[in-house]
């Protein structure tokens, strides 16, 4: 295909991505370096019968003019990244110096919003991903043994947790584990504690969100692994059987190595997707106990005062986090490409 033809074919999609993905990224990075203008203050000396006094007031007109003239705000460099709402190096250093023990230091760190969100985001990402892979693999192995007629039926219901809108899915679970809901009552009965509420404790909230995450994403792993099982070379399995491999050894040494590329694929995709965890926190109304980077951005942007600078700084750091998680995928794609050309 000629360059010219390619250009015209690619122009609409390229333009859409340039204007609404690339440009906003640039804009977000820029905004994170600017803070809103402070109000312009004027000091007027007013002299009365009892001597002169200096009065400071906000010059409304000048403030508005300044804001209209430069809507971005004033340039503050990396200040926003370093303030208390973000990396907060000052507070971290202080916490380190005043620590009484290591756990005390982490407790102090947990009071800083960015580190609190980071702690949950990373815990969530790195517990949900392996768990959903394990669960997905088990479902795939179990479903693969079923009769053909049942498979479609099972796959239909298995797809639901993944297809349903994350906010809706988390709400459905949230209502069930409410202390008055069916699962909530069951847990209270099982724990023999009529006042037990999953929502009240930080630890249980985290567990709840992680369970939701596994429930939501396991179907994806299941479908991918199930497709992989269909291409399993039967002769290898037979050879293993002739060699006297037990059922577990067949899974361990034939099936899992065969599925390994798919496991890597699912792991990489899910690490990126789980890192942006956001809707369940809204759905489970869990922000008092668990926050994530995406939730901080959402929280900064909604409400009366839209804190664009603060949200932008968090956005940039989230993008960097995603970039780190994405790098193995990029390296893999690059290697694939090199081997083909």
């Amino acid at each position: 295909m000629k360059h010219r033809t390619f250009f015209w074919f690619f122009l609409p999609t390229g333009l859409a991505m340039l204007l609404f993905i690339a440009a906003p990224i640039v804009s977000v990075v820029t905004q994170s370096l600017f803070a809103p203008h402070e109000a312009v203050l004027v000091t007027v000396e007013s002299c009365g019968p009892f001597g002169c006094r200096e009065e400071t007031s906000i010059d409304q007109d000048a403030t508005r003019e300044l804001r209209e003239e430069r809507p971005l705000g004033r340039f503050v460099g990396l200040d926003i990244y370093l303030d208390r709402g973000h990396l907060a190096f000052g507070e971290v250093a202080e916490a380190w110096q005043n620590r009484t023990s290591l756990s005390d230091f982490f407790k102090r760190l947990g009071n800083l919003p960015f580190y609190r969100a980071m702690a949950f985001t990373l815990t969530y990402t790195f517990t949900v991903t392996p768990l959903l892979i394990a669960l997905g693999l088990m479902i795939a192995l179990a479903v693969n043994r079923l009769q053909a007629g049942l498979k479609g039926f099972v796959i239909f219901f298995s797809l639901l947790p993944m297809i349903v809108t994350p906010l809706v899915g988390s709400l459905i679970l949230f209502w069930m584990i409410d202390s008055r809901g069916v699962l909530g009552s069951l847990i209270q009965w099982a724990a023999n504690d009529p006042n037990l509420s999953l929502k009240a404790s930080t630890g249980l909230t985290w567990v709840m969100l992680i369970v939701y995450g596994v429930w939501h994403s396991a179907p994806f792993a299941f479908v991918v692994f199930y497709a992989g099982l269909q291409t399993l070379p039967q002769d290898q399995l037979e050879a293993a059987q002739i060699d006297g491999a037990t059922r577990w050894q067949q899974v361990r040494f034939v099936i899992i190595p065969h599925l390994m590329p798919l496991v890597t694929f699912v792991a990489l995709i899910q690490l990126m997707d789980n890192f942006r965890v956001f809707e369940p926190i809204v759905g489970f109304n869990a922000s008092a106990h668990a926050t994530s980077l995406s939730w901080i951005i959402f929280n900064d942007l909604s409400g009366e005062t839209r804190q664009l600078s603060a949200a932008s700084a968090t956005s940039v750091m989230t993008i960097l986090g995603v970039a780190i998680l994405l790098s193995p995928v990029l390296v893999r794609t690059w290697r694939d490409f090199r081997s083909k050309h």
Binding site: L160, P166, W175, I242, S312
Partner: protein, 293 residues
């Protein structure tokens, strides 16, 4: 014929079947339960006294004389005007799917037919964009959209969702077009067609399976989006998901949780139908990336 070595011992068979049943309950029960409960009053849906009330609808019967009531649906659809959100959602989804498939097919086709090195880099850039959480871009949209008075209206949101959709659409359609033999359009070009004519008359007739699969995922992305729609739409233009989120704020205080439950069930129903009819396409779409990658 299964040999003796391949035959599964009974214990394992039972365990595996039991596991499937447990998983089915985990996957399906929450939906059935909420669907059933959406026809009850709040005292039954959230039952302090006895959880079986949610099944029998004791309080619902006391209030309405029947164990089922459509009060939640009436409240959500009529009183809270949820139908507006439903219409908005379908407008947004329709145009997002239409636009992103149109420009995505052209782009994906071009990427699959051009052998130059820059196609690889374009795909890599698309992959990076695909990984970007949409919420991180929202801060970049707000200021210009406010300045140019574009904020709050449906067309803006549609274009933004189309753009966010593009990286994924490109990847899917690119790998799909690569499976269509190049000889097809090459021979059309030898016969004197331009590249576009070859695309129009030779490729378009055979591309529908891939386009439908990609369209399904575009639909799901637009339908399920919360971050972009809740931030970029004004109150009267909200789609279903941000509307449900807004319900939560008001209903918990006013005691109308059943409105939110009815709205949630209403928003789930179309997805149910979608999976029922397009299960095969969804499965093949999910695995396409994996088998390639």
């Amino acid at each position: 014929m299964a040999s003796k070595a391949q035959r599964t011992p009974t214990g394992l068979k039972i365990a595996a079947n039991l596991f499937v049943v447990v998983w089915l309950i985990l996957a399906a029960f929450p939906f059935l339960w909420t669907f059933w409960g959406s026809f009850k009053v709040e005292l039954d849906f959230f039952s302090i006294a006895d959880w079986t009330n949610a099944l029998t609808g004791k309080n619902t019967e006391a209030t309405y004389g029947r164990p089922f009531t459509g009060a939640g649906y009436h409240g959500a659809w009529v009183q809270e005007e949820f139908w507006r959100a439903v219409i908005n959602t379908f407008i947004v989804c329709f145009f997002v799917v239409l636009t992103s498939l149109t420009i995505g097919t052209l782009g994906g086709y071009a990427l699959s037919r051009s052998g130059f090195r820059y196609t690889f880099w374009l795909l890599i850039i698309a992959l990076i964009f695909r990984a970007m959480p949409p919420i991180t871009l929202v801060a970049g949209y707000l200021l210009p959209f406010f300045e140019w008075n574009l904020w709050g209206i449906l067309p803006t949101t549609i274009i933004v969702l189309v753009a966010i959709n593009q990286p994924f659409t490109l990847w899917m359609l690119h790998s799909f077009f690569q499976n269509i033999p190049k000889e097809l359009d090459e021979s059309a070009k030898v016969d004197g067609c331009t590249q576009f004519q070859a695309f129009r008359h030779v490729i378009v007739p055979v591309m529908w399976p891939g386009v439908i699969t990609t369209g399904l995922f575009s639909f799901l992305l637009a339908y399920n989006d919360f971050a972009v729609t809740s931030m970029l739409l004004s109150e009267s233009n909200r789609t279903m998901v941000p509307e449900i989120a807004a319900f939560l704020g008001t209903t918990y205080t006013e005691g109308n949780v059943m409105f939110a439950v009815a709205a949630v069930v209403s928003a789930t129903a179309p997805l149910f139908v979608l999976v029922m009819f397009f299960q095969r396409q969804i499965v093949s779409g999910l695995t396409a990336g994996a088998v390639k990658g």
